[in-house]
């Protein structure tokens, strides 16, 4: 029973990260119809920036996390402006290949700056607390709460503010949004910045309990794609729920079925969905 509870908790922690990453991916897909293959690399960069700021510059954890979000938001906005905006009217193939190029480049850049080694950073919440008799690393609880808070905040932003409505309107119909006076170019830049920022939060939150290394984003990108396909490309609630579901399946499957093939769960799920529903579980939702 304790093993089961422990695995559920692991699932929730990993799920928080998956959901944050998948949210960013689905936002970009929804507004710009670009499958951002480089999304996991933004998550990886976010983790590295926090790592460097904490271990080398000596910043406090939350300060480092905040600066990492700002840095990655700038990177995201720059990518949109310099790479994806010029390709808006090109065939879809072109933006996909460009995304692959960005992905290759970011991973190589990280490898050059930080090297191949696995890096570890300490959490300010190093202790272990007991939850209903279950020993839990304090950082995991902090992560759960922070991720949930951020997701709630993002949902409120998307549904209650003018800027959020503009993003949703652009996702529903770019032409319609343009007609009612929404600056869709700015929406695209903002969406990319938000999405990269979310990836940075996810990377920075997981860094203290996992390790930081250049290829840490590669699998995450694909898992986020699996989630987004499951939940509907462009759907925000789908990404949220899907992230937790996938992590739970991995965590329990890894414990009770096979740990060797744990990473395969996502791709098998993805392949099964596409096999039976070639255009995803849901029609593209806004």
């Amino acid at each position: 029973m304790e093993l089961f509870a422990q695995q559920v908790l692991n699932g929730l922690v990993t799920g928080s990260v998956y959901s944050l990453v998948a949210l960013g991916l689905t936002l970009i897909y929804g507004t710009m119809h670009v499958p951002n293959f480089a999304h996991g690399q933004l998550y990886m960069l976010g983790a590295y920036v926090s790592y460097s700021l904490v271990t080398r510059a000596g910043l406090p954890y939350w300060g480092a996390l905040g600066m990492s979000v700002v840095a990655l938001a700038l990177v995201g906005a720059a990518l949109e402006r310099l790479v994806f905006r010029p390709l808006r009217h090109a065939p879809p193939l072109n933006s996909m290949i460009a995304a692959l190029g960005v992905m290759l480049c970011l991973e190589a850049v990280a490898q050059n700056i930080w090297g191949e080694e696995f890096r570890h950073m300490d959490s300010p919440y190093g202790g272990v607390v007991s939850v209903f008799g279950l020993p839990v690393a304090a950082h995991r609880l902090v992560l759960l709460v922070a991720a949930a808070g951020l997701m709630a905040g993002l949902l409120l932003f998307l549904t209650r503010t003018l800027a959020g409505s503009a993003i949703r309107a652009t996702a529903q119909s770019p032409e319609g949004a343009l007609l009612v006076g929404i600056d869709t170019g700015r929406v695209a830049t903002t969406t990319f910045a938000i999405s990269a920022g979310l990836a940075a939060v996810a990377g920075s939150l997981i860094a203290p309990i996992s390790l930081v290394y250049p290829s840490m984003g590669a699998l995450v990108t694909l898992k986020a794609f699996a989630i987004v396909v499951l939940g509907g490309m462009g759907s925000v609630p789908g990404a949220l729920v899907g992230g937790y579901l996938l992590a739970m399946a991995e965590s329990l499957g890894g414990t009770y079925v096979s740990a060797t093939y744990q990473d395969l769960v996502a791709f098998v799920v993805l392949a099964l969905v596409f096999t039976f529903k070639p255009s995803g579980l849901f029609r593209e939702a806004a």
Binding site: Y29, H33, F37, L93, L104, V109, L222, V229, V268, A271
Partner: protein, 321 residues
């Protein structure tokens, strides 16, 4: 000399030049790079069939390369099957898997197809890497049988092997040229330009795409088999995502959808990567940036530049519609 006859002579001249190259390259190392280049070019031609001709971005390409390579390597080391039987077996298995996987994946379109094949490629790679009892995982397979000899021709020197690889590449390019000129090739291009229209005029889009995917997988398998047999050692990296990206870069640099582009692209990029071996650590940074710049400013690659240059000075003499 008419333009048509001139362009018919170009491949023969190139082939002749390629045949002379090993005589000039006395260095063993250069010969091996040349041979690797031929093999990778076969794989690039394969990716060009599905991506450039049929217009579908398949990210499972290295998976099929791995299947061809591992089939030859495992049959050779575990069952003692010689190179010349293992190679066709690898091609056949790659093609069969390509047919099966294509039947499923190609029902998804556009972005979905790219994501789906990326997952399929990763599944193949992870299975190769983790199925240790069969593939030896990270350790890899040692002692893969080489081409040996056919009758009196022995492929024991690097020069002989480079001719063998060149032969396979020439066959590949010829076959693709034939396909491009045939109704099959025209159908692929129709699907690439406008799938709905192609379907509306009565073309069987699914059959065409599946054939392209199968041919592409078979060529990847052929390249994989040659790769494993010539090096004699095989590791799981041969099937990883980076391999797919490198191949994609070869195709993009040379010119997506053109016949000679992927071959030229392979030699330029692979050659550069060998010259820049000192800068190994920055190589992927360059390649990533190069891929983005290409797609932004030169989406048809060198072949596109070549075409517009020819249209530039030839256009004044011959009026093209």
């Amino acid at each position: 000399m008419t333009a048509a006859r001139a362009s018919a002579a170009v491949p023969l001249v190139l082939l002749g030049a390629a045949a002379l190259l090993p005589l000039l390259l006395s260095n063993e190392y250069y010969l091996q790079i040349l041979t690797q280049g031929y093999i990778l070019a076969i794989s690039a031609c394969g990716l060009n069939v599905i991506l450039g001709l049929a217009g579908q971005l398949s990210l499972a390409h290295a998976g099929f390369f791995g299947i061809g390579a591992y089939t030859l390597a495992l049959l050779g080391t575990k069952a003692g099957v010689p190179f010349w039987a293992g190679l066709p077996a690898g091609v056949a298995l790659s093609a069969a898997m390509g047919y099966g996987i294509g039947s499923i994946c190609l029902r998804s379109r556009g972005h979905y197809f790219a994501i789906f094949t990326m997952a399929v490629g990763l599944i193949i790679h992870l299975v190769i890497q983790k199925w240790e009892s069969l593939t030896h995982g990270h350790v890899g397979v040692i002692g893969v049988p080489g081409p040996g000899s056919i009758g009196p021709i022995a492929f024991d020197s690097s020069a002989a092997r480079s001719y063998l690889a060149l032969g396979f590449l020439a066959l590949t390019v010829t076959a693709i040229a034939r396909l491009m000129a045939s109704p099959v090739g025209r159908t692929w291009m129709a699907v690439r330009e406008n799938e709905a229209l192609a379907s509306a005029v009565g073309l069987d889009v699914m059959v065409a795409k599946r054939l392209a995917f199968t041919v592409s997988a078979a060529l990847a398998g052929l390249a994989g088999g040659l790769f494993a047999g010539f090096i004699g050692f095989l590791g799981p990296e041969s099937s990883n995502v980076e391999m797919t990206f490198n191949t994609l870069l070869y195709v993009m640099v040379g010119g997506i959808g053109s016949l000679a582009g992927p071959v030229a692209g392979t030699f330029i990029v692979y050659g550069l990567s060998q010259v820049l071996a000192v800068l190994q650590q920055f190589q992927m940074v360059f390649f990533g940036v190069a891929l983005v710049l290409l797609i932004l400013f030169m989406p048809s690659g060198l072949a596109g530049v070549w075409r517009s240059a020819r249209a530039g000075w030839g256009g004044r003499l011959v009026h093209r519609p």
